[in-house]
C-alpha cells in the first residue's frame, strides 16, 4: 500500500520515548530537547504527507462514487483471543483519522518547540520530552486504530502518559494528587468502555471498526433484541462505551479530574488537556457514529450529557480566579459542544451536519485552545503565578502574547472571521435543526463563553496595573513566541477550510452553507457577552464584586464548582474507603483470619489441657494408676457378682 509509511508516525515517537527514557539522563538537556523536537518535526512531516495524500491523492480506490474510502494501511495481529476476536495493531486512514493526524502532530510539534523555552532549566527535562513522545505515540495510535481494542490499548496509554505528565512535578503534593485523581477517574470511565467493548464484541463477534460500522443495522440486530434491566443490550454497550469517552473528555459528572490536571506543566495542559487527549471521547463517538446513529436512546443520552456539561462548565468558568482553571472549564464546555453536536446529528437532518460540525469544531478548538493555553503559559512564565489577581495591564509588557491571546478569545467567542465562528455556527445549525430547545440552550452557552473568555482577557491584559516590583514581566523567548504566532495564524484562517468536503458522517462531500439567521444571532450573542465583559472588567472597578455579593450563594457555589469535588471526596473517602475497604480489611483480619487463628488456638489449648496429665510427676501417675486399678477391680467384682 502506498500509504504504509504512515506507520512511521507511531514508530518514531515510541523509539524516541525509549531512547530518551533510557539514555536521556546521560544526554545534556539541550540535546535531549532538540532531539525530541526534531523527531517530532519528522513525525509531523510524515503525518502531513499522509493526511494530504489521503485527502488529495488520486490513487485508485481512495474515492469511489464521491465517497472517501476507509483505508486499512496496516494490520498486524497482536493478540488472538478467538478466531474472530483478534486484537490487531494497525493504521486506519479515513477522513477523521487523517484530520486528527494533522491536529495532533501540529499541536504536539508546537508544544515541543514551546517547551524548549518554557521548561528550560527544569529538573527532569529529558524525562519531560520522553513523556511527550510517549503521549504523541499513544495519541496517534489511538486515532489510527483499526479496531476498538487497539483504541482501548492506546486509550490506556494516553491515560498513563497524562498521569505521568500531570505528575511531572512529583515533589508537589498537589500535582501528585491531581495526577492520581485524573488516572483513577478516567480509569473508572474506562471500566465502562471495557465492559461496553465486551458486550459489543460478545454480540457482534468482532472488534474491527470497519466491519462494525459498515453495516450498523446488522451489528445492532445481532443482539437479537436481547435486553438487560429493561434496556436493549446494544444501548447498554454504546452507553458504556460513551462512558469511557465521557471520562476522557471530562463530561459531567466525570469532569472533576480535568481542572486539577492543570497542576501539570502548562504546555502539557495545552497538548493533552485542551487539544488532543480530551477530545478522544468525541473521536470515539465519531468513530462508532454509524452504530450510534441507529441507536437513538444512546444518542439522546449523549446529547443530554453534553448539553448539561456545556452549561455547567460555562457557569463555573465565569467565576474562577485561576487562569488555567478558567481555560480548563472552557475546554470542558467546548468539548461538550462537540459531544452535543454529535448527539443531535442524525443522518436525515442536513446529511448529519452535526457530525461534520463536531469534527470541525474539534479541529478549530484544538488550534485556538492550544494557543490560549500556550499564551497562558507565557503569562505564567512571566508573572510566576496562576492567579488573575497577580496579573493586569500585561498588554504593555507582552505585545505578541496579547495579540495571540486576543485572537484566541475572538475565535472561541465566535466572532467572524476567526475559526471558532464557523465551526460553532455549524454546531448551532445542527442543534436548531434537531430541536429549538437545544439550539437556544447552546446559544446561551455560547454567549457565556464570550463573556468569561473576555473576562479573562481583560483581567490579564487590562484591569489594573499591579506593582510587579523589579520582576517586570517581559515577552517570552523566540521558542515560545513562534508557536503562538503560528497557532494564531491558524486560528484566523482555519475557519475558511471547506471542512464539509473532507469530513462528513457518510464520508460524502457536503457543502457548507452559512445559515445567516443562526450566524447572525450567534454573533449578536457573542457581542453582547463581550460587551458585558468589557463593561465589567476593562478597568478596575467594584462592579464584579458587587454582583458577586448580590448573588453570594450562586457565586460561592459556582466558585466551588457546585461542590462536585466535595461530593467525590465524600464518596471515595467516606464511603469507599471508610465504609467498604476498612470493614473488609477488618473482616479479613478479625473474622477470616480470626477463624484460622481460632482453629489453631483451640488445638493449642486442647493440647495444653491434655498436657496437664503428662506432668512428669511419678506420684501423680501412681495415683492415676491406683485409682484405675481399684476401679478395674471394683468393676470386675461387680461384674462377677
Amino acid at each position: 500500500m502506498e500509504l504504509s509509511y504512515t506507520v512511521a508516525v507511531l514508530i518514531i515517537p515510541v523509539f524516541m520515548f525509549l531512547f530518551l527514557g533510557i539514555v536521556g539522563v546521560k544526554l545534556s538537556k539541550k540535546t535531549a530537547g532538540i532531539l525530541g523536537t526534531l523527531a517530532m518535526g519528522v513525525t509531523t512531516v510524515i503525518a502531513y504527507a499522509a493526511a494530504f495524500t489521503y485527502f488529495f491523492g488520486t490513487e485508485q480506490g481512495q474515492v469511489i462514487d464521491g465517497v472517501r474510502q476507509q483505508l486499512t494501511v496496516l494490520d498486524l495481529t497482536w493478540l488472538e483471543f478467538t478466531k474472530n476476536l483478534v486484537i490487531k495493531i494497525g493504521v486506519l486512514l479515513d477522513p477523521i483519522s487523517a484530520m486528527m493526524l494533522i491536529v495532533i502532530s501540529t499541536v504536539s510539534f508546537m508544544v515541543h518547540i514551546y517547551s524548549l523555552g518554557y521548561m528550560d532549566g527544569e529538573r527532569g527535562f529529558q524525562r519531560y520530552y520522553a513523556f511527550l513522545s510517549l503521549f504523541t505515540f499513544s495519541m496517534l495510535g489511538l486515532v489510527l486504530a483499526t479496531n476498538i481494542f487497539q483504541m482501548y490499548i492506546f486509550w490506556e496509554l494516553v491515560g498513563v502518559s497524562s498521569y505521568l505528565l500531570i505528575g511531572f512535578y512529583y515533589t508537589l503534593p498537589a500535582a501528585v494528587s491531581a495526577s492520581k485523581k485524573a488516572f483513577i477517574v478516567t480509569r473508572f470511565a474506562d471500566l465502562g468502555f471495557l465492559v461496553g467493548i465486551l458486550i459489543l464484541s460478545f454480540y457482534t463477534d468482532t472488534f474491527d471498526f470497519i466491519s462494525l460500522t459498515s453495516d450498523p443495522q446488522a451489528a445492532i440486530s445481532t443482539a437479537g433484541g436481547a435486553t438487560f434491566l429493561g434496556c436493549s443490550v446494544m444501548t447498554w454497550a454504546l452507553t458504556l462505551i460513551f462512558m469511557g469517552g465521557a471520562g476522557k473528555s471530562a463530561m459531567f459528572p466525570l469532569h472533576i479530574w480535568l481542572p486539577d490536571a492543570m497542576e501539570g506543566p502548562t504546555p502539557v495542559s495545552a497538548l493533552i488537556h485542551a487539544a488532543t487527549m480530551v477530545v478522544a471521547g468525541v473521536y470515539l463517538v465519531a468513530r462508532l457514529f454509524p452504530i450510534y446513529a441507529v441507536d437513538v436512546t444512546a444518542l439522546e443520552i449523549i446529547t443530554v450529557v453534553g448539553a448539561f456539561t456545556a452549561l455547567y462548565a460555562a457557569a463555573v468558568a465565569c467565576v474562577q480566579s485561576d487562569i488555567k482553571r478558567v481555560l480548563a472549564f472552557s475546554t470542558i464546555s467546548q468539548i461538550a459542544f462537540m459531544i452535543t453536536s454529535l448527539g443531535v446529528a442524525s443522518p436525515e437532518l442536513h446529511h448529519g451536519v452535526g457530525y461534520m460540525a463536531s469534527m470541525f469544531h474539534l479541529f478549530t478548538h484544538a488550534m485556538f485552545k492550544a494557543l490560549l493555553f500556550l499564551c497562558a503559559g507565557a503569562i505564567i512564565h512571566a508573572v510566576h503565578s496562576n492567579e488573575m489577581s497577580a496579573m493586569g495591564g500585561l498588554r504593555k509588557y507582552m505585545p505578541i502574547c496579547h495579540i495571540a491571546f486576543l485572537i484566541g478569545c475572538l475565535a472561541i467567542a465566535g466572532i467572524p472571521p476567526f475559526a471558532g465562528f464557523f465551526s460553532k455556527d455549524e454546531i448551532l445549525v445542527a442543534a436548531y435543526a434537531k430541536s429549538p430547545i437545544w439550539g437556544v440552550w447552546l446559544s446561551v452557552v455560547a454567549g457565556m463563553t464570550a463573556f468569561y473568555m473576555f473576562r479573562l482577557y481583560y483581567k490579564i491584559f487590562w484591569w489594573n496595573n499591579p506593582d510587579y516590583g523589579h520582576h517586570t514581566p517581559h515577552e517570552a523567548p523566540m521558542t515560545m513566541t513562534f508557536p503562538l504566532i503560528f497557532l494564531g495564524l491558524v486560528s484566523i484562517v482555519a475557519g475558511f477550510i471547506p471542512f464539509g468536503e473532507f469530513v462528513t458522517s457518510n464520508r460524502e462531500v457536503y457543502e457548507i452553507h452559512l445559515d445567516w439567521t443562526v450566524a447572525g444571532t450567534s454573533i449578536a450573542i457573542a457581542v453582547v457577552g463581550i460587551a458585558l465583559a468589557t463593561v465589567m472588567y476593562r478597568k478596575e472597578n467594584n462592579l464584579p464584586e458587587q454582583l458577586a455579593n448580590r448573588f453570594r450563594g450562586l457565586w460561592t457555589a459556582a466558585y466551588h464548582r457546585f461542590y462536585m469535588d466535595e461530593l467525590y471526596q465524600f464518596i471515595t473517602h467516606k464511603i469507599i474507603f471508610a465504609r467498604i475497604s476498612k470493614p473488609i480489611a477488618w473482616f479479613d483480619r478479625r473474622i477470616i483470619d480470626g477463624t484460622m487463628d481460632l482453629l489453631a488456638n483451640v488445638t493449642n489449648s486442647a493440647s495444653f489441657a491434655v498436657r496437664r496429665m503428662q506432668s512428669g510427676s511419678v506420684q501423680t501417675y501412681v495415683w492415676f494408676y491406683l485409682v484405675g486399678a481399684v476401679a478395674v477391680a471394683v468393676i470386675t467384682i461387680i461384674c462377677l457378682i
Binding site: 512428669g616 510427676s617 506420684q619 501412681v622 495415683w623 491406683l626
Partner: protein, 99 residues
Amino acid sequence: MLMYIIPSMIMFGCGIYGFITRKNMIAILISLELMLNAVDINFAVFNRFLFPGQMEGMFFSLFAIGLAAAETALAIAIVINVYRAARNVDIRQLTKMKF
C-alpha cells in the same frame, strides 16, 4: 498365712500412701523400699505355704533384696547429686528439667 499377708498388705498400703503423698525424695525412696519389702514378704510367704516343695519364691525374694540394695544405692546417689546441684530434695521444687 493370713497372719503374714495382712502385715505385708499394710506395709504395701503404707508404701503407696507414702509414695503418693511424700514430697521429700528420701521419704519417697523409703516408701518405695517399703513396697518392695512387702512384696518380698509375699514371695516368701506364698512360696512357703502354697508350694512348699519348691524354692523359686525364696530365691526371688533374695534376688529382689539384692536388687533393692543396688537400686537404693543408685537412688541415694542421684538424690545426693540432686541435692548438691539444687540444694533441695523437695520434688515440688525440682522442675527445672521439665517442659
